[in-house]
Structure formats: structure tokens, C-alpha cells
């Protein structure tokens, strides 16, 4: 859910590895980010709508990844996938690390690009430890 740079990259990679992938985005224009070789499905719709998720095949899905720009939208859709459609493996991108930590206690796998980015940048700065 969410065909931005991250979503498109994940979808393309899974597709290339032979998995069956559906990419969901509100805006069909976002699918331009997918490579020409992409063999999966592209569905236009709001992932926070249970009907849209069902049509996208959520009931049969082994994994669900929410990578829209909105932490709360990602959370809402992730819980729909988990609670309503029983998807086992759900990953919810959460930019706000505080919120992400709480979401992690509520049944989701979360990933915070903010924390990960800060750590990566700190690691590139020599002598970034205690002065």
C-alpha cells in the first residue's frame, strides 16, 4: 500500500523474485515508479477501505506492507489487514519513532525511517560518540 519510492522498490524486488504482488495507491500516476518489467497487479484505491483491500486480495495475502506518507493511515490499514483479513506478516512504516514503538506493542512490525536514517548518518560521522 503506497507506491512511492519505497513501495515501488519493494514491489519491484518481490516481483523479480517471483512473488505474486499487488501494489495499491490512490493515484494511478504513482505506478510510473514501477519498472517496465513489473509483472504484478496495480490497483487504484484507498487501502483504508476494507472493500478495496479485499478486492486487492488481502484475504489470500501472506504479507502486507503499508508505506504511505501517513503514519496513521499506515497503522489503520495494517490493522485492517491483520484483524479483518488475518494477514500474518504485516509491516507498518512509521516516521514518528515514538508512535512506531507503541504500534510495535500492538501487534505490528514497524519500521521507522527517521530513527534508521539518524543512526545511519551518525555512523558516517567520525567521532560522533561522546566528546
Amino acid at each position: 500500500m503506497g507506491c512511492g519510492r519505497t513501495g515501488a522498490a519493494i514491489a519491484a524486488s518481490l516481483d523479480q523474485d517471483g512473488h505474486s504482488v499487488t501494489v495499491l495507491d490512490l493515484n494511478a500516476g504513482q505506478f510510473r515508479r514501477l519498472p517496465d518489467s513489473f509483472g504484478g497487479r496495480m490497483a487504484v484505491g484507498n487501502g483504508m477501505d476494507a472493500e478495496v483491500l479485499e478486492r486487492a486480495g488481502a484475504r489470500e495475502a501472506d504479507a502486507f506492507v503499508a508505506v504511505t506518507q501517513g503514519d496513521n493511515r499506515n497503522y489503520f490499514a495494517s490493522q485492517l489487514a491483520r484483524e479483518i483479513f488475518g494477514v500474518k506478516n504485516v509491516v507498518c512504516r512509521t516516521k514518528d519513532p515514538e508512535r512506531g514503538e507503541i504500534f510495535g506493542h500492538l501487534g505490528l512490525q514497524t519500521y521507522s525511517p527517521t530513527s534508521a536514517g539518524a543512526e545511519a548518518i551518525l555512523a558516517m560521522l567520525p567521532n560522533s560518540g561522546p566528546a
Binding site: M48, D49, A50, E51, G70, D71, N72, R73, Y75, F76, Q79, L80, E83, I84, D96, E98, R99, I102, F103, H105, L106
Partner: protein
């Protein structure tokens, strides 16, 4: 009681005003700075500008000692997140406004039982105004018995039959038939049920579903 309201739109504002006049301690958290300033004056300085979906904002608002958190923004995903964080912080009661009625199921699955949906509330009022296809409660009788009125439409499975041929749930009985002209009749062996008849039926509360199916058929009212 200390109540935190997430969202200072129309619902949050009026809710806050009612709570203030009821002598509750109350705080409204509103994301938009201009809206927060606007209602802060009207709500005696009880409005804080901030994003209630951020745990640190809720912590700063004293969520640890809140008795109730009401999430009433116009976005269901925001309301869900506020309720989840509040519960995670140990707030005893959380309440959510649900803008899209189909989302109520997810709130329930997440253990947030109290949801309020204006759409649902209006819909149930509309259903009560539809006598053609619905069963209208008339009065409560003794020992769990109730009097209801059912108006027969073209799709009713009992049209054309006599009252005796109708299979009713246990302890249910057609007491009176008022035809479309307003003439009351006691049901007899030669009475034929016709479209437009209003049947006054004695039944039990737990049998109303079965009664509805017997007299009206499967689908009724609005299917939400």
C-alpha cells in the same frame, strides 16, 4: 473527572463546552494553530495546540491521570491512533467518533467498544420512519412480552395467506389486523392477509428477529 478531547472541530468544540458547563476538568487538543486559538478563547483557555497522535503531546497533556479520552476528529485513522495510544498509556475509558460506519468493526476488533457514528445514528432514525418495511415496537407488556406492529408490503411472504397458515415463533400471536382503510378486524379462519395490512402482534423480545423473517422476509430496511 478529567477528560481529554482530541480534535477541536465542531464536535470537539461543542463537547468541550458541555463538559465545561458540567464542571469537569477538560482539555481539547487541536492540531491547527488558528483553530486552536479561535476556540481557546471560547473554552476558557482549555485548548492546547498540538497533534494528539503524538505520544509526547498526550503525555504533556497529562494523559496518565485522564479518566476518559474522546477522539473526535474527522479522520477515523487519527481517532484510532489516539485511542490506541491512550489505552496503551492506561486510560480507563476511550471513545471514538467513527466517520465511516464500516470502520466501526475495526475499532471493535481493537477492543475500542465505544464508537459514535453520526451516520449510523441518522440512519437508525430514518429506519424508524419507514413503516412499510419495518417492525415498529408499540409497547412492552408483562413478563417479557411485547406488542409490535408490522405493515405488510408486496414482498411479504404471508400475503394471500390466512393468519392460521402463518408459522410464527413460539409465544407469538397476531392479535389484530388493521387494513389499509383503517378498519380493525380480529383475525379469523376466513381472513386473508393483504398488502397494506397492519398486523398488531404479541411476541417475545428474543423472537422479534424470527417474527420479522416470518412476516417481512429476509431483507428489511437499510442494509448497512
Amino acid at each position: 473527572m478529567y477528560v481529554i478531547i482530541a480534535g477541536g472541530g465542531k464536535v470537539g468544540y461543542y463537547l468541550g463546552r458541555e463538559l465545561l458547563s458540567g464542571d469537569h476538568e477538560m482539555l481539547v487538543i487541536e492540531r491547527s494553530a488558528s483553530r486552536a486559538a479561535e476556540i481557546n478563547d471560547l473554552l476558557e483557555g482549555t485548548v492546547q495546540q498540538g497533534d494528539a497522535c503524538e505520544a509526547s503531546v498526550l503525555d504533556g497533556a497529562g494523559i496518565a491521570r485522564a479518566d476518559l479520552v474522546a477522539a473526535v476528529t474527522g479522520d477515523d485513522e487519527d481517532n484510532l491512533v489516539v485511542c490506541e495510544i491512550a489505552r496503551y498509556r492506561g486510560v480507563p475509558r476511550v471513545l471514538a467518533r467513527v466517520n465511516n460506519p464500516t470502520n466501526a468493526l475495526l475499532f471493535q476488533k481493537r477492543g475500542i467498544e465505544t464508537t459514535v457514528s453520526a451516520t449510523e445514528a441518522i440512519l437508525s432514525q430514518i429506519e424508524q420512519e419507514l413503516p412499510v418495511t419495518s417492525m415498529v415496537p408499540v409497547m412492552q407488556l408483562h413478563q417479557g412480552l411485547e406488542l409490535v406492529e408490522v405493515r405488510l408490503s408486496e414482498t411479504s411472504p404471508v400475503v394471500g395467506r390466512t393468519p392460521r397458515e402463518v408459522l410464527l415463533p413460539p409465544e407469538s400471536l397476531i392479535a389484530l389486523i388493521v387494513d389499509s382503510g383503517g378498519v380493525p378486524r380480529v383475525p379469523g379462519a376466513d381472513t386473508t392477509l393483504t398488502v397494506g395490512d397492519a398486523l398488531v402482534v404479541v411476541t417475545r423480545a428474543e423472537s422479534k428477529g424470527m417474527l420479522q423473517e416470518a412476516l417481512i422476509g429476509g431483507a428489511h430496511g437499510f442494509d448497512t
